[in-house]
């Protein structure tokens, strides 16, 4: 399969998306997988959505309201900005209001980075999952606080250098097993994906949209700026993460039924590690 051709096909279509920078170009770094993920997500989720977002790389997209438009008619996507640690709580509260106002069909999407999901907002996230709040929580995981300059998070993998784990003392702890933790809350639906597999990604978004209750999507979003690799390798890294079994593509229903969506090719992990500067001491 000509993967490059297929991907170009996906990423060159913009009609169904609502990430339309009117002046051309997003204010994210070149090669940002989060921006690609947001584009794919917008195509999968469709219309009638309210976003809850917070501090993080998505902020540079969300806060500049002129950057987010719906189609070409100058209408905007509703976003609210949540305190860093309150993404899930705000999403749940907003959903409660919409239910009361007879707007139950509006999908509340929380779009949060790994800092907000794994660290500062984990308590609220876990609680919202436990209460089975009817929201779709998307964690774009670039494995550290990239928006503030690459500080360690509990999503940072073992062996990575960050600005708070500077060389020669890389992180010596494991990454938090977030998708597993969410599954253990017995939520109706949880899944992982990357921007290298857009069909898998969008299928999961569509599937999540059709399910009631708490849904969690964990998206690995490689970051050229923090992971120290050339920006054109974002897709390659996203694919290698899956095929080296670093970040398998799977989904979990009710916390019990696991499905591996792609059998990894079993490429040696070294291939994934060696192109990233953050693993070099």
């Amino acid at each position: 399969m000509n993967m490059t051709g297929t991907l170009l096909n996906y990423y060159s279509k913009r009609d169904e998306e609502y990430i339309h920078p009117p002046r051309g170009g997003l204010s994210t770094c070149p090669g940002c997988a989060m921006a690609l993920a947001l584009r794919l997500f917008s195509r999968g989720i469709g219309e009638n959505v309210v976003f809850v977002s917070t501090m993080g790389c998505a902020m540079v997209v969300a806060v500049g309201p002129e950057l987010i438009t719906k189609k070409r008619d100058g209408e905007y996507i509703p976003w609210i900005f949540s305190p860093f640690g309150s993404t899930a709580s705000c999403g749940a509260g907003l959903k409660a209001a919409l239910m009361d106002r007879g707007e139950a069909e509006t999908e509340v999407v929380v779009w949060a980075g790994d800092g907000a999901a794994f660290d500062i907002g984990y308590g609220g996230l876990s609680a919202a999952a436990e209460r089975n709040e009817d929201i779709l929580y998307v964690c774009y995981d670039n494995e550290s606080y990239q928006n503030t300059g690459n500080q360690r998070s509990s999503a940072t993998p073992w062996g990575a250098i960050t600005t708070t784990n500077p060389a020669p003392t890389p992180k010596t702890e494991r990454k938090k097993a977030m998708a597993q933790l969410m599954a253990d809350h017995r939520i109706p639906y949880g899944a992982t994906s990357t921007v290298a597999y857009p069909e898998d990604f969008m299928n999961k978004v569509r599937k999540a949209k059709g399910i009631k209750g708490f849904r969690f999507l964990h998206i690995l979003t490689p970051c050229p700026t923090g992971w120290l690799y050339p920006s054109e390798l974002t897709i390659k890294l996203s694919r290698l993460a899956v095929d080296t079994k670093i970040f398998p593509l799977f989904e979990v229903e009710d916390g019990t039924t696991f499905t591996i969506n792609r059998e990894p090719e079993g490429i040696p992990v070294e291939e994934y590690i060696k192109i990233q500067g953050r693993f070099k001491l």
Binding site: E47, P78, S86, C90, A92, A96, A97, G123
Partner: protein
């Protein structure tokens, strides 16, 4: 209908009658009875048709109702002390977003040292968040103030904190008139938000500075100016809300209430449940022939500067007794009163004696509580002594052997 209920129950009744749609709370002492009752009524679905959520933390409680309020429904949350401290980020956030949330805060001490005793420092230390703050003297006032708070909050698009003393009001029971629902409905019509998160495809909602939230189009200075303006305007909203309340329910609560102040040379200023104690102290001194009066401060934010100036001008001495404390400064109400008077020196303002007392209440034997005797003592001290050179006098500590030689020489203890 009159019932003997605790302050917590009075708050819950006030909430029920105001018909919020989303209610959040975390069970923190000593306010747990509020969410218990509300959840019971929500579960029955007769008295209250709302979504009650027992959340994982105070951070979540306020974040949850904040987002619900932004989504366009009337909301309520309750908390106390540590919980309010944990809400600090969301307090700033919700006031900045101009959301008309009503929050009940049961005043209780902040750790360390630990305990559940009464102390108003928890909410007073949130004074710069932009929330309006109202303090209650009785359980009836708690119930009525909750209803009024919705009126005020929705008039000015600012959140209101209804504060009442832990233990003294939250746990103790009093005969309380529970108003008829029809009457409350007349006072407080169904909520229609001035601003809310737009629906899908709507035009962006902050195109114009007059729209909510003004923040984004005016920059931070402009946003804070707007907030300041509406905080100031909220005094008028408070007066209007109270006037209408009086008309419908036959009772009301001034921002600054005078008690026997007519000919008083010395006026004592108190807020919260100690007001009743203060009135007893004043009565006793009146019987002994002293011209003393009491001023009850209900409103703390916005601070009723002009009313305070009016009531304190021309007195010989002013005594402030309070159950809160700002380290190395003294009482917080006292600071505010001084600030209100300074800068308006065209009138003859009296010296102010600031007393701090009864922190943590009198539940534990070694703690000093505010008693009528102590209030008498403080007023008599003010009557017979030169104006104090220090900002704070620790009332009730000396007789318990507190302080050291330095304190006694400097008359910091009484």
């Amino acid at each position: 209908m009159k019932k003997v209920i605790s302050g917590n129950e009075a708050a819950a009744y006030g909430v029920m009658l105001s018909r919020p749609k989303v209610i959040c709370a975390y069970p923190i002492s000593p306010q747990s009875r509020i969410p218990e009752l509300l959840s019971e009524w929500c579960a029955q679905g007769l008295l209250l048709k709302a979504k009650f959520v027992n959340v994982d933390s105070e951070t979540t409680a306020l974040a949850y109702v904040m987002a619900a309020s932004a989504g366009g429904v009337r909301v309520f949350a309750a908390t106390s002390s540590q919980g309010l401290a944990l809400m600090h980020e969301q307090l700033h956030w919700s006031a900045g977003a101009r959301l008309p949330i009503v929050l009940a805060n049961v005043n209780r001490q902040l750790y360390w040292p630990g305990g559940v005793g009464c102390d108003q420092s928890d909410s007073l230390s949130q004074r710069d968040t932009g929330w309006l703050q109202l303090y209650c003297e009785s359980n009836q006032e708690i119930l009525d103030t909750i209803i009024q708070a919705y009126k005020i909050a929705e008039l000015v698009s600012l959140p209101v904190m209804v504060c009442f003393d832990g233990i003294y009001l939250s746990y103790l029971q009093e005969g309380t008139e529970i108003p008829e629902q029809e009457l409350v409905d007349e006072y407080l019509p169904p909520y229609e938000p001035k601003f809310r998160i737009p629906r899908w495809g709507a035009k962006l909602y902050f195109k114009h500075p007059s729209e909510f939230p003004p923040e984004l189009s005016l920059g931070l200075t402009g946003a804070r100016y707007e907030m300041h303006k509406w905080e100031t305007k909220s005094m008028d909203a408070f007066l209007a809300a109270d006037e209408e309340f009086q008309r419908l329910f036959g009772r009301g609560y001034p921002a600054v209430e005078e008690y026997k102040c007519g000919d008083a040379d010395v006026v004592v200023v108190i807020s919260g449940s100690a007001v009743g104690t203060g009135k007893t102290g004043v009565d006793k001194l009146r019987q002994k022939g002293h011209k003393v009066g009491l001023v009850k401060l209900k409103m703390f934010r916005p601070f009723p500067r002009e009313l305070i100036r009016r009531v304190l001008a021309g007195r010989k001495k002013v005594v402030v007794i309070e159950r809160d404390f700002s380290p190395a400064v003294g009482g917080i109400f006292c600071q505010e009163i001084k600030a209100a008077l300074y800068g308006n020196m065209t009138r003859d303002f009296p010296p102010i004696y600031g007393f701090v007392s009864g922190l943590g209440g009198g539940l534990i034997p070694h703690q000093a509580d505010i008693t009528p005797q102590l209030i008498e003592k403080a007023i008599l001290y003010a009557l017979t002594s030169e104006p104090p050179t220090q900002d704070v006098i620790w009332l009730g500590l000396k007789e318990r052997g507190g302080g050291d030689e330095y304190d006694r020489n400097a008359i910091k203890l009484l």
